[in-house]
Amino acid sequence: MAVREQAIPIGALEAPVPPAWRRWLAGALHFARRKPLGAFGAFILVLTLVVAVFSPWIARFPYAEPHFSDNLQSPNGTYWFGTDVLGQDFFSRMVIGSQVTVLAGLGTVVVAAFLSVIVGGISGYFGGRVDMIAQRVVDVWVSIPAIFLLIVFLSVLGTGGDGFLGIGRGPDVGLDPRDGDWIWYTFFRSSVVIFSLGIIFAGYGARIVRSAVLAVKENVYMEAARALGASNVRIMLHYVLPNIMPLVIVLASVNLGAAVLAEATVSFLGFGIQRPFPTWGGLLDVDGRVSGVGHEWLSIIPGLAIFVCVYAFNMLGDALRDVLDPRLRGGR
């Protein structure tokens, strides 16, 4: 029996690949269906980010403009969130303050991820004496409770003036005064806070990254790479790093809520970005705590904002962890 061969057109066996944006959208929808709370967290994160980026245009008044005759008003049509002792519009101050929340949250986890990959990676990869010394340094680092170390760090580096390595002053402000309030300038203002939080979170991250590197090192492909004569740098960048990347992403997202909370805490204690620039923690301290009695909205609004953000970011982190690396579940 003769078998008739039939030419199959090239590509006919492959399913048509949808365009990239549609795959992203499908992935996001799938995530939202599986993890509704995680999707809620992502929504709040995007919302805060949008508000922060466009805050100078969302704010209804300049954040430091006093209206002395209108001070301590309850929320109303002109002042949506009321006014503080000086008659500054609380809504504008909250909106501008969201910049610090977003920057400190995201900046901290990025700095922390970067540092913990370097320290934990080198420590785990080389092992031996390097590992021993690095682990003792990390031991020292995590044995001082975080807030204590953070307060000392912030006051040594100084949050008022020039900032970290002098970049805190930021570039010169343009003609439109509104430009000076934009998130880009706030990034320089909060550099000290971001750096300090990041270096403290990195201590805890370095241990986790180290153990992951130790696990990766056991794989056969590491031996193969070494047999091929790959250099240490090449092995670290091309073999180790891609394999610990999911863990690093999970670590960063799990820490996001904690970073926001830590920034709010130091601002509340008066060691964060200095007045008159608003931060949510600072607003809760200076307005909520001092003039909160009889003017409850001043203590409810910033506290609620911090709470919702931390809650949402925690949910997002947990959901991402479950999806990306379920082994880490229950670690906290």
Binding site: I147, L149, V156, G288, V293, Y311
Partner: protein, 335 residues
Amino acid sequence: MRQYFIRRALLIIPTVLGVTLLITLLLQILQGDIADQIYAESATFNQELTKEKIKDDLGINDKVLGSRFLGIFKQWGEWVGGVAHGDFGEYFRSRKSVGGELQNRIPVTLELAGLALIFSLLIALPIGVLSAIRQDTLVDHTARSFSIFMLALPSFWLGTMYFVVVGNWHDWGLPKAIGDWLLPPSQYKDLWVDPEANIRQMWAPAAILGFALAGSVMRLTRSQMLEVLRQDYVRTAWSKGLRERTVVVRHAIKNAFIPVFSLIGVQIAILVSGSVVLERIFSLPGLGLMLIEGVSQREYIAVQGVLLVVAVLVVFTNFVVDMVYSLLDPRIRYA
């Protein structure tokens, strides 16, 4: 086991020495600031004062210390040597002994942290166990969402709201007697001097601090209970026809609580961290307030003392918890 014990005990030494070095390095940078600050405070009264004179007075000028770099190590050596003899140095302005001040402050923070720990265990353990044995019921769902809420509730917000509510008590027409009791006395009272006033001051911050802790303890208790309940020996206990109470209390709880116990060791650092915020809101003169005061007045010798005490506290508790943990759970083997 014994070898592990000795090795862990020996590792404490480099850690604590490292802590002292780190503290000294960090705070030497504040050293210049205190001269500036004292100058700003007193230059108007004393025209002849210069920053150099202040530095001479404080013993921190370059002539005394030699080069900047060696000076740091010299100060480190002197400070560690003093601490080893129980001398924590003194305040620059008041010449008060830092060691004496620490002695006054440590009991306040320990009382706060201890009460908070008790409070969190009282909430978290029963609810965690209940949530596990009634898995996927309404009780479980409520307890779980509650614990997630507790993890995100900032303690400084709760503290602030406490004072807002108490301050508004009369305006909202609530019973006056309770409101008066809730308002803590402004002056701090020691537990042994005036227990009633002390408890009135302490219960709210301890409850708030414990609340923050309860969330994570509850989550861990629940997951550990669920794991233990799936073990063979629990099934055996069921099949013997034991009552639920006996199975849970006699067979499951003991094993589920061991990891929870080790979590508490980790949480000590978090408790001490949290006490800074609550001491500040409730004006309790503990270590946290001493740190804040010390840092803002640039009294760096006092700050060094506080940091050393809390670090030693954390290192020591972690050590004790690890040791007790390995005694409680003989399955754990150490390489």
